[in-house]
């Protein structure tokens, strides 16, 4: 599924900066969801958990969130920081909406410069979702649909 053109202003990726990309397969996310659906609150915010639980395909919703968070982690050049580290990167989604937003929790926000745009992309296929985060700083812009 390709990202539809947004009527909103689309920010170009910065010419230089940071880039993180991650892919999560739906089959893997499905296994994880079935085994650990009672633990989602340990690494997802309440709104993220609502997004997953409210989706008709919760494993795909979960895959998107995990891919997006990991893409941000990679862009920030951080190792995996546990469940709390995951919670500190909050992805905002509404089912059927064309928009993803994110917020960095305390301690992480200082890692990005506030003045330059950042972009969160994702692309969904039948088997997986890919999320890419490009930033030089703290402003948000989005592209993609889910």
């Amino acid at each position: 599924m390709s990202a539809p053109r947004s009527s909103r202003r689309r920010q170009a990726c910065p010419a230089s900066g940071v880039l993180g990309v991650d892919l999560v397969e739906f089959e893997r996310a499905g296994e994880f969801y079935r085994s650990n659906k009672n633990c989602l609150g340990d690494f997802l915010s309440r709104s993220e958990k609502r997004f997953v639980d409210g989706s008709s395909r919760p494993h795909e919703a979960l895959a998107l969130l995990l891919a997006a968070k990991e893409a941000v982690f990679k862009a920030l050049d951080l190792p995996w920081m546990g469940t709390e580290g995951f919670k500190a990167i909050r992805i905002g989604m509404r089912p059927g909406a064309l928009k993803a937003s994110f917020r960095l929790g305390a301690g992480l926000s200082g890692r990005l410069d506030r003045k330059v745009p950042r972009v969160l992309f994702f692309k969904k296929t039948n088997r997986f979702v890919v999320a890419a985060f490009a930033a030089k700083s703290h402003e948000m812009e989005t592209a993609g649909s889910f």
Partner: protein, 132 residues
């Protein structure tokens, strides 16, 4: 290795084998979860939750993975762990190969420290403090 640690190692290998779909014969104490076994974030989450179930413990935030440390300006500067940070990490995660890490203390290299042996060391100490 003591009998208890042996048992812990066996269970940890089983958990990792199930989470990563890797044959148990390919997993040993020195294996890095990321470099050798290809673990990704979803796998780390899965492994943590499985370990909690198998060993009947709760792994508190920041205990196995030092997330708060990495965002503390005293311990990390310009993507490198400081001397103070290294001392704190050694204190928090004694089972890791800090000598190797100390030669190139980039924050991004921390993931290489997550080995099977490190998890066994952590669980061994954790279980020793849990009353029967």
């Amino acid at each position: 290795m003591s009998q208890e640690k042996d048992e812990i190692l066996k269970n940890v290998i089983t958990v990792i084998s199930q989470a990563l779909k890797v044959d148990v014969s390919k997993i040993h104490s020195n294996c890095s979860l990321i470099k050798d076994l290809g673990a990704e974030s979803i796998d780390f989450l899965d492994i943590v939750f499985r370990l909690e179930k198998v060993f009947k413990i709760k792994i508190p935030k920041g205990e196995l993975f030092p997330e708060k440390l990495l965002t503390d300006a005293r311990f990390v500067k310009a993507g490198q762990v400081t001397t103070e940070g290294l001392a704190e990490l050694k204190n928090r995660i004694p089972g890791a190969d800090w000598e190797a890490f100390g030669r190139d203390p980039q924050v991004s290299n921390l993931g290489n420290l997550f080995t099977v042996g490190m998890i066994v060391e952590y669980l061994s100490k954790k279980l020793a403090t849990v009353s029967p």
